[in-house]
């Protein structure tokens, strides 16, 4: 074993140290072992091609798994994919998986879905491991106390060939959230508030560790939502120390360790939380009691405010770059400074993406729309994160709740999170979305995105304008 430093260490340092194959010397990177490599159709083709050109095999097929998600249609999944690029990417993945022997979950398979939903639901994602994928939202898996980060296509090839990556250690940032969330406020609101606080680049070069009582009381789904969006603060990864909630979630999942292996694993996992006195490179504090539902008004995830607030005035921003960015964002979003966000009407609501498309997210959305009808003229799409989530939801009758409400119930995939498939906004359309990126054109050319939690998405779908669940209660009271 490598020599473990004799000082208090953070969670991130412990996982790093336990994956050191070669310690880098004289400024050269460390060589880090990768426990789990997730693969999808967009970033893998050239990686497999590179292996083929050099005559290299996949080193560890048993640590590699692939799924189709970014390009898959969410309607009529038995028909050939119309878009040629999309179809080629998917067919290429199928050919590569067959040729190299990689386990693949294709469209129509029970385990198909967004790569970051599939790993955890299979029990492959667990504490204390390293996870990579050619996708920035790989940070999601950090919710389990894993070190998980997105990589580029050349690195995908590197991991396929060697099961390792040359990496320089990251800096660490502790983000402590203490207190209790008000009803209607969720993990999504915490992370949006954190990004607004530290900025869309505030986490650059860091692994964020979320800690504190408010984080401890989150479900695994909520923790995944938070770690998922660490990348939107510019961070390499987000992590949360494993605890009983984590163990209970992993236990008995298809690939979870069993018997003596389970006991050994849990005993090790209990050693992972950051030591008393461990030093972080930076620290941030947030009060959970104060938090309200959050919403973005601009075109980067850091441009967000309290949903009860108003669209900020760029003229009041002192930083010239920030001001210019805000001006441009407001023009794109077609919003005037001072507008109450709750007065902003939407054309569409998207409930899905690797940020919020797990069964718990769907349950929360359903609990609000149940027995109600969607606002007229608003298009509401509910897209489960995986085929398994879809089945679970249907077993609970949630599909019926959604369709009775007037929403479209779709098949699993990334869908309108990035609009690589036909699920796109039309130019100028405004959408309340549970996804993670509000960049210009992300959900379709000219589309306007407001990032929100599932609860806010649901209330917005009911009222046709940005709204929080408490607005519905108020409505119910006046109606009586």
């Amino acid at each position: 074993m490598s020599t473990i430093p004799d000082r208090p260490r953070t969670l991130a340092e412990k996982v790093w140290d336990d994956h050191l194959v070669v310690k880098g010397e004289d400024g050269s990177p460390d060589l880090i072992y990768i426990d789990l490599h997730l693969v999808h159709e967009v970033t893998s083709p050239q990686a497999f091609d590179g292996l083929r050109a050099e005559g290299r095999p996949v080193r560890r097929l048993d640590l590699t798994i692939a799924t189709e998600d970014h390009n898959t249609p969410t309607l009529e999944i038995d028909k050939p994919i119309a878009d040629l690029t999309s179809r080629t990417q998917i067919e290429t993945l199928r050919r590569n998986a067959a040729e190299f022997g990689v386990r693949l979950h294709s469209l129509g398979d029970k385990e198909q879905g967004i790569v970051h939903v599939v790993g955890p639901q299979l029990g492959l994602t667990m504490p204390g491991i390293t996870v990579v994928c050619g996708d920035s939202h790989t940070s999601t898996h950090g919710a389990f106390g894993a070190m998980a980060f997105g990589i580029g296509t050349s690195e995908v090839e590197h991991v396929l060939a060697t099961q390792t990556l040359p990496l320089k250690p990251f800096k660490t940032m502790a983000i402590t959230v203490e207190g209790t969330l008000k009803p209607g406020v969720s993990a999504k609101d915490i992370i949006l508030a954190i990004i607004a606080k530290i900025g869309a680049n505030g986490g650059q070069g860091y692994v964020l560790e979320f800690r504190g009582s408010a984080i401890r009381s989150l479900s695994m789904e909520g923790r995944m939502t938070m770690c998922n969006m660490s990348i939107e603060a510019g961070a390499r990864a987000g992590m949360i120390a494993p605890d009983e909630t984590t163990f209970a979630y992993v236990k008995d999942k298809p690939h979870a360790p069993r018997g003596a292996d389970w006991d050994e694993a849990v005993a090790y996992w209990r050693t992972l939380p950051s030591d008393e006195g461990a030093v972080y490179d930076a620290e941030v504090f947030l009060d959970a009691d104060e938090l309200e539902p959050f919403v973005t008004w601009g075109t980067n995830p850091g441009q967000g405010v309290n949903l009860n607030g108003v669209v900020p005035d760029p003229a009041e921003m002192s930083d010239p770059n920030e001001r210019a960015a805000a001006e441009r964002a407001l023009e794109y979003m077609d919003l005037a400074p001072g507008t109450a966000l709750k007065d902003v009407a939407v054309d569409a609501v998207f409930m899905g993406s690797c940020t919020n498309s797990r069964i718990e997210d769907l349950r929360q959305f359903a609990s609000i729309v149940r027995g109600r009808t969607k606002a007229e003229g608003v298009r509401v799409m509910v897209v489960p994160g995986s085929a398994r989530v879809r089945l679970e939801a249907e077993a609970e009758g949630l599909d019926k709740v959604f369709t009775d409400f007037g929403a479209e119930w779709r098949f699993a995939g990334c869908s309108m999170c990035l609009g690589m498939n036909p699920d796109q906004l039309a130019p100028g359309e405004r959408c309340a979305s549970t996804s993670n990126r509000n960049f210009e054109g992300r959900q379709g050319k000219g589309g306007r995105t407001h990032l929100v939690s599932p609860q806010v998405a649901a209330a917005t779908a009911v009222l046709g304008r940005l709204a929080s669940p408490s607005d519905l209660d108020a409505l119910a009271l006046t109606e009586v």
């Binding site: 072992y33 426990d35 050239q46 050099e54 048993d62 990417q89 491991i129 390792t164 690939h255």
Partner: protein, 198 residues
């Protein structure tokens, strides 16, 4: 990756400065799913012009590109290197390269040599005096020779070593195979497996 020690091939004077990666390979070609076969994509827009240098018979077999300053600026696409390599280029000489392009080139076995302005002008003159002339690039001695011109070029020690040894990133890591195997031998049984081990 193939080892590179010395190469002799047709020199192509590309007398333009700030050739960005969008010119080297236009964005429409990025949709492809392969890492090879980009030869037709190289300078695709420029090649539509019959007078473009690569459309001239003397230069069709070119393998040493001699370009103006600031070569490879713009987007970080690795495809720019793939396209040059697939066309048959083994070397690009210029007075200045964009950093990311240079890094990508070194990883894919494409030599990027920095020469002085006088040397660049001299090589251009030599190549234009006799189109189709061959250039010899010696990585060991870091020197370039064409006609009467004999001059040094610059490349950092680390990249030179990798190219001489024919080591791409993966090749470099695989030099630690034994350490990877030792690490694997002590990995705990509880760690995830996507398929049963055969």
């Amino acid at each position: 990756m193939e080892k590179f020690t010395r190469h002799t091939g047709v020199g192509v004077p590309l007398k333009r400065s700030a050739v960005d990666t969008d010119q080297i390979i236009p964005a429409v070609y990025l949709k492809r799913v392969t890492k090879t076969g980009f030869d037709d994509a190289l300078f695709a827009n420029w090649r539509q012009d019959p007078s473009f240098i690569l459309n001239q018979d003397a230069y069709r077999e070119g393998s040493v590109l001699v370009a103006g300053p600031d070569f490879g600026t713009g987007s970080s696409r690795e495809h720019a290197v793939w396209a040059l390599r697939d066309y048959g280029f083994r070397v690009v000489l210029s007075t200045k390269f964009a950093d990311i392009f240079r890094g990508n080139a070194g990883k894919q076995g494409l030599v990027t040599g920095v020469v002085t302005e006088e040397v660049l002008e001299a090589i251009w003159a030599a190549l234009e005096a006799e189109p189709g002339r061959e250039v010899t690039v010696d990585l060991e001695t870091r020197s370039v020779q064409v006609g009467d011109v004999q001059a040094p070029f610059d490349i950092d020690d680390y990249t030179r070593w990798r190219l001489l040894e024919g080591l791409d990133d993966i090749g470099l890591t695989l030099r630690n195979e034994d350490k990877i195997a030792q690490f694997e031998a002590r990995r705990e049984a509880w760690r995830p497996r996507t398929i049963p081990v055969r």
